[in-house]
């Protein structure tokens, strides 16, 4: 039987999902309220929020960069030519 979704109270998994979305500024205002409410009494949610926020901070602080998919593909194409020549 499908569980009825509560208006205000959310499960731990739902809270984690909202927290994930929130790291990318994709959680709605209402979702944030529900997350905050659960945050006040759920130890697991609190621990997850803390850990998740730290990960976001670390990635931002590192100023890490990577290739865009098309740049990687272009690199791959060029390198494959070299590989063919080598073989």
């Amino acid at each position: 039987m499908k569980e009825k979704k509560s208006f205000l109270f959310i499960s731990c998994d739902e809270a984690k999902h909202i927290c994930d979305k929130s790291q990318y500024k994709e959680a709605s205002f209402w979702e944030k309220i529900k997350l905050n409410l659960r945050y006040t009494w759920c130890k697991i949610t609190r621990a997850y929020v803390k850990q998740n926020k730290q990960l976001t901070t670390m990635v931002k602080k590192s100023k890490i960069d990577c290739l865009k998919n098309d740049e990687r593909e272009a690199l791959k194409k060029e390198f494959e030519k070299e590989l063919m020549e080598q073989n």
Binding site: Q23, Q54, V59, K63, D65, K76, F79, E82
Partner: protein, 183 residues
């Protein structure tokens, strides 16, 4: 028997992002960084016979990339030398001033900061290496490239709920991996 094997056909997927991140933090020019990474892969391919297998493939590639970066700076420095010669002192008496200009600024923390950022970047890439390929790809697109959900879903042909499940697994694994040394 060598402890590490060499598989050039997997280099781009495995190491291109790591090498690119290493390079861009040092040359600060996206196009130049891409060229240097490409030169590194080509040079490595040509000197594959020198790979003894004592170090990992990644360490070996980085050692070649480091030389490429040094060569790049040598090249631009030698060009600079030809273009402009700046002499700040003319007599022996002025030599003190000239040296003083070059004393490190104690309030300049850029070098120290970039060292920490480098280490942090290395740690993040080391943890990303441990993720399944799809999780790593989605995490990079969402967190590093900051692409929006729709773009990633279209590119990888997945639904938004798939994406959030992958992101959740990736973030949990990344946080656990980083927790020991960085949180």
């Amino acid at each position: 028997m060598p402890k590490h094997t060499i598989e050039p056909e997997k280099w781009i997927d495995r190491y291109s992002d790591y090498l690119f991140n290493y390079t861009i933090s040092r040359v600060n020019d996206r196009e130049m960084a891409k060229d240097l990474v490409q030169d590194t892969f080509v040079a490595s391919l040509k000197s594959m016979k020198n790979f003894k297998g004592d170090a990992s493939e990644r360490t070996w590639l980085i050692s070649i990339l480091k030389r490429k970066i040094i060569d790049h700076y040598r090249r631009i420095n030698s060009k600079k030398g030809k273009a402009e010669v700046k002499i700040d002192f003319t007599t022996e008496d002025d030599e003190g001033n000239w040296l003083e200009e070059r004393v490190a600024d104690p309030f300049d923390k850029t070098a120290e900061d970039s060292l920490v950022n480098d280490e942090l970047g290395e740690a993040i890439y080391a943890c990303l290496d441990k993720l399944p390929a799809k999780q790593a790809a989605v995490f990079k697109m969402k967190t590093i490239q900051e692409l929006d959900t729709e773009t990633i879903c279209n590119e990888l042909n997945i639904t938004p709920s798939n994406l959030w499940v992958i992101i959740h697994r990736a973030r949990t694994a990344m946080a656990e991996c980083m927790e020991k040394n960085w949180f």
